[in-house]
């Protein structure tokens, strides 16, 4: 599926392909430079390939999968790899690739700044964005045109609106959670304009009469793998109405801002408009407030925290999130995955037990 898209984009449209590691990167910049971003979140499953043993078992599966990807002939598929400075593990991946591997193509970095919004951060971010643009220009052989950046930002704002709308109006979406997330996740590799077309088509199917498909829940986590979890959830009688996945909800601005006239300013504002994420480490207060607001507005009745093993940024926030939600009597389940292929029996049981528990609270019976 992705391979076909990549081939078509390269051959038919002459676009360059850049493999991008999670999570946050200035996608409109790549779009403006006619570069297709293909995100590397998986695929899920056990360690594989010659490089499976290159990092210790206590390093998360995202890194291991990325190595497997590179070792599997990625050099012939992509023109470069982009590693945002997301966390220590991805930092380690980036230096292993740049220093100790025979990766023949360019390796670009994006050091998204960390900490609270402050002047030093804004100044740096502005320059880092231009620095990345220079790096991309070396890959494409062409400089970025500001007009193209404005156009790309406009498209991405429409995409953000569509994604936000779909998630907030999820009750009007007839499909299952798996169908919704499959659609949203195609944005990880489709050319943005194509992704937008699919989103628009889905929006047109939204029903005027929303239906409650069971217990509405909010999900917060890193990546929604295995997708089979959604099936378990739906079969057990619950469905997702609010999203705080790093790869989904945390990459949709809470509201779309009026664009600044200068495209670089607009790009900066776009990057800074994303909801709080521990990988960018704004205050915990800001994160907790955002989560609570998201929860309340969505009408959810329970919270599922879905982390992946060894993911430090997510795991550090879990106790504070649990405390905040427990104080407001919200049933919360923390499920930890390992980017496995399918939910284990134990994970399914946990989810089902959780839904049973919430159902009983709501309907007073077991």
């Amino acid at each position: 599926m992705r391979a076909a898209v990549i081939r078509e984009q390269r051959e038919r449209h002459g676009r360059r392909i850049v493999a991008v590691l999670p999570v946050h990167y200035p996608k409109p910049l790549l779009t403006a430079m006619n570069v297709l971003a293909v995100e590397l979140w998986g695929p899920p499953g056990p360690p594989r390939g010659v490089d499976a043993g290159r990092v210790q078992p206590y390093v998360c599966a995202i890194v291991r999968n990325a190595f497997a990807f590179l070792a599997s002939g990625a050099a012939s598929e992509v023109d470069a790899v982009l590693t945002p400075h997301t966390c220590d593990s991805l930092q380690g991946f980036a230096t292993l690739v740049s220093d100790f591997s025979a990766w023949p193509k360019p390796l670009l970095h994006f050091q998204h700044p960390k900490g609270e919004d402050r002047q030093s951060l804004r100044t740096f971010l502005g320059r880092e964005l231009r620095h990345l643009a220079d790096g991309l220009a070396a890959v494409t052989g062409r400089e970025l045109e500001p007009a193209a950046l404005s156009k790309a930002l406009a498209l991405h704002r429409r995409i953000d609106d569509a994604r936000r709308f779909l998630l907030t109006r999820r009750r009007g979406f007839a499909g299952s959670d798996r169908e919704l997330y499959t659609l949203l996740r195609r944005g990880e590799y489709l050319w943005p304009a194509d992704h937008f077309r699919e989103l628009e088509a889905a929006l047109r199917t939204l029903q005027a009469q929303p239906t409650e498909r069971g217990i509405p829940i909010m999900v917060s986590g890193y990546v929604c793998e295995p997708m089979g979890l959604f099936d378990v959830l739906n079969e057990a009688g619950a469905f997702v109405v609010a999203d705080d996945y790093a790869g989904v909800g945390r990459r949709i601005p809470v509201e779309t801002l009026a664009p600044a006239p200068d495209p670089w300013d607009a790009l900066l504002a776009w990057v800074l408009s994303m909801p709080p994420c521990p990988t960018r480490a704004a205050t915990q207060t800001a994160r907790l407030e955002h989560l609570w607001r998201l929860y309340e507005e969505s009408g959810a009745r329970a919270l599922l925290i879905h982390t992946q093993k060894f993911c430090d940024p997510e795991l550090f926030d879990v106790p504070a999130i649990r405390q905040r939600f427990a104080a407001r009597d919200v049933p919360t389940l923390h499920l930890e995955g390992e980017l496995e292929l399918a939910p284990s029996g134990q994970a399914s049981t946990r989810l089902e037990a959780f839904v049973e528990m919430v159902q009983a609270r709501q309907w007073g019976s077991a």
Partner: protein, 438 residues
């Protein structure tokens, strides 16, 4: 002067030294029973006693610090010299964590954190610290509450997640110095970012203490910090001698001041004292271990709760750790600090820390250490709690053993949590490694 402030000063100048003198008298009066096995070590360093006193005093004063002087909790890689001018009492949760780990307290502290939902896969220092903060349990009596939290990402990104959790808990400001990772060389805009953040640190300190930056004191703190780092470097360099006058594990213990007291006069005095002792031992041909047959390099943090055991195992086989990338890290910045250009030089010095630089640099540093210290073998501690240090070790092991034709062993453990230490596995690997050296 407030009562609290008076207590703080009295603790530091009167009570502390008195308690230490009492301890010293008690120690001298105690008859030490002869040990069953002959020790493979040379005579213990005299300076160790002075070190303990220095750190004890620091922690003792700490008990009276909050309310007396501004208190900052700070990461080990933070440019603490910028806080010294305001007279902050500085707490290093990592140093406290090492203390707890050495006394095998980390599991019970971690249990407190885990009961709150913190995963056991998180950094052992962080779990221990959070557990200590939540329970109030600490081997140092009491840690003062911070007025300011200060973290620098040059050692890892984890400190960011950890410190923002502390900020939420204590309800105090957190100032972050985010140092972009160095691939090759830092770009100008990256160093400019760090510099700008250093100014923000000073602004935050001024806000918290309600006093402007005393500029002269900054120059002095930087000079003292640089001197301490340079002296520490010279202490480490004595390890080049055959035999090394001290052991690698001595090095881990004696680095406490350059980490936790950097920028103070006491820190400089301490290393002057230590250096004198080391040079004296060299002059008298005294080695850290009695029979130095093998000279080793240690990579990554030490295994704090096993320092004595591992040290003994290696020493009995005639092996001494003459250098370590971890201890070496605090000697590297000396050359870069320039009190005349404080923000620019500090930005560079603290960005160019080994853990913030790429693996090509790490390999280079390790090669240089092997060459300069005439190393025969390398031990890489694969620390499950420290990903920035541990990722890449598998490649480093392969490269170093191939390139240098030296034995290299990886030991899987954790720097703070003994529950992640598999006795048999580590024992077998260490034994096999020692056999391959013989």
């Amino acid at each position: 002067m407030s009562v609290r402030r008076l207590q703080y000063e009295v603790a530091g100048r009167v009570v502390g030294p008195a308690m230490i003198a009492l301890d010293r008298w008690r120690a001298q009066s105690r008859r030490l029973s002869p040990s069953a096995r002959p020790s493979p070590f040379g005579p213990p360093l005299e300076s160790t006693r002075k070190l303990k006193e220095l750190m004890q005093l620091h922690y003792l004063q700490g008990r009276y610090a909050d309310g007396a002087v501004p208190v900052a909790w700070v990461t080990s890689g933070f440019p603490v010299e910028l806080l010294r001018p305001w007279g902050f009492h500085v707490v290093y949760p990592e140093n406290h964590g090492a203390l707890c780990a050495s006394r095998r307290l980390t599991p019970e502290l971690s249990d407190v954190a885990e009961a709150q939902g913190y995963s056991r896969d998180l950094c052992g220092y962080a779990r221990g610290d959070i557990g200590s903060v939540l329970s109030g349990r600490t081997p140092v009596g009491r840690l003062p509450k911070p007025d300011l939290l200060a973290c620098c990402t040059n050692i890892c990104q984890t400190v960011l997640y950890w410190y923002r959790t502390l900020a939420e808990h204590f309800g105090v400001p957190l100032v972050v110095v985010d140092t972009p990772y160095v691939f090759g060389e830092s770009a100008p805009h990256e160093l400019a970012y760090v510099e700008a953040q250093l100014e923000e640190v000073c602004a935050a300190a001024a806000r918290v203490t309600r006093r402007p930056l005393p500029r002269d004191a900054l120059a002095e703190a930087l000079t003292l910090g640089r001197e301490a780092s340079a002296l520490w470097g010279r202490c480490l360099a004595t390890g080049k001698h055959r035999p090394s006058p001290w052991t690698g594990f001595d090095g881990f213990v004696h680095m406490a001041p350059v980490v936790a007291l950097r920028g103070t006069r006491a820190c400089v005095s301490y290393y002057e004292h230590l250096l004198l002792e080391l040079e004296d031992r060299i002059a008298r041909g005294v080695g850290g271990i009695k029979e130095e047959r093998h000279r080793l390099l240690w990579d990554n943090l030490p295994i704090w709760y096993r320092i004595r055991d591992l040290s003994t195992t290696f020493a009995e086989a005639g092996a001494n750790f003459v250098c370590a990338t971890y201890t070496n890290a605090w000697a590297e910045s000396a050359a870069l600090i320039d009190p005349a250009a404080p923000f620019a030089s500090v930005a560079r010095a603290y960005t160019y820390v080994i853990l913030n630089r790429d693996l090509a640099n790490r390999l280079r540093v390790m090669r240089e250490l092997v060459r300069d210290y005439a190393v025969d073998g390398l031990v890489l501690h694969s620390d499950r709690s420290c990903k920035p240090y541990s990722i890449g070790q598998i490649d480093l092991k392969q490269k170093l053993s191939a390139e240098l034709a030296l034995p290299v062993v990886m030991l899987d453990a954790d720097h703070a949590d003994p529950r992640a230490y598999a006795e048999e596995q580590v024992g077998v690997r260490a034994a096999a490694f020692l056999e391959s050296l013989a």
